[in-house]
Symmetry: C2
Subunit: 201 residues, 2 copies
């Protein structure tokens, strides 16, 4: 991790996190930056803020399901609502942390593959075997990925990551921190773009 | 009210509602549409959704205060956080409904003046005398505006408006409905723009 990396916090069960995951690398590259992929668990974060899963909120839930689809069309990103939703996201999150130990670019590659497996192919990546198989198809060692999910060191690593996210003020997904400045949501990508271009505004 | 009008729902205590209020007329005009200004009360809406005032939510509240200022700069709109916030917004909302009885353009004019009085001049427009004076300076009959705030007919009209907003699925501010399609937030103005240009997407 480099101080100038763009911190990209996300939860695998977050549709807007998925949409952002398809755009963050290109955004960073336009400004000569790298991305630090930081999986976290919204369920734990929501205990801090009293929030509930978006799709379960009265009125807002109905709207959000329409907005996921419309926003995907707007950004020209493949998307379909997964049959199992929301899901627990520990398994894919631990795989990302495991891949990251190898190299940051590996974290990005496996995270995007896992997100697409869930939001394009409709696979239930909360299941360790499914998540490991997706990693395998993305060019990783599937057996090692499967073992990482149950590895106490990876469990601890994820727990620390979630605590670090909360300490950094993260309350939703996606959440991006650029040179200390926090941006919540895919909706803020234009502001991030201007921030990176001008060093603030 | 015309079927093809853009329905613009807002609460006077909403910073993003204010920012949107400074952009909605120009957006509509670019597509030959008119705007129906529909004041509502987030406090009542939040009882349906279990939400609390944004600035009071842990983590999110701290972020939001930073984001109000940054988003105002991003959109090049004058803004300063009012000393009294959040406020009850019945008084300015009833003035808008009263002005609307005269003509739709009057509702737009007085609503924008009231919003600016709160978010630029820092006046506490929850106070009936203050709100009426703002209306007076915007070219309305201040005494009649003051009387409208206590008029049972205007109280009933606002109550019906809030019920209608909830029935239409409104859960936040600003909330825009274009030809039946709902859009929440200033963040969706680009989608609204494309929707109006293409008749959907």
């Amino acid at each position: 991790m480099n101080q100038s990396d763009i911190q990209f916090f996300f939860d695998f069960s977050s549709p807007y996190g998925y949409l952002a995951s398809q755009k963050i690398e290109a955004l960073a590259a336009r400004h000569g930056r790298s991305v630090d992929w930081r999986p976290m668990l919204l369920g734990v974060v929501f205990k801090q803020t009293g929030a509930m899963p978006l799709t379960e909120v009265p009125l807002k839930g109905t709207y959000s399901k329409r907005d996921f689809l419309r926003s995907a069309r707007f950004h020209d990103i493949e998307f379909s609502m997964p049959p199992a939703f929301p899901i627990a996201s520990q398994a894919p999150a631990r795989i990302v942390l495991w891949a990251k130990q190898q190299e940051p670019a590996a974290a990005s590659r496996v995270a995007r593959a896992l997100y697409r497996a869930f939001f394009v192919d409709g696979l239930d990546i909360s299941k360790p075997d499914v998540a490991a198989e997706v990693a395998g198809k993305a060019g990783f060692d599937a057996a090692a990925a499967r073992a990482a999910i149950d590895d106490p060191a990876m469990k601890d690593a994820l727990k620390r990551e979630v605590e670090a996210a909360i300490a950094a003020g993260v309350f939703g997904s996606p959440f991006v921190i650029v040179d200390g400045e926090p941006f919540w949501g895919l909706d803020r990508f234009e502001q991030i773009e201007r921030w990176l271009a001008n060093g603030g505004f």
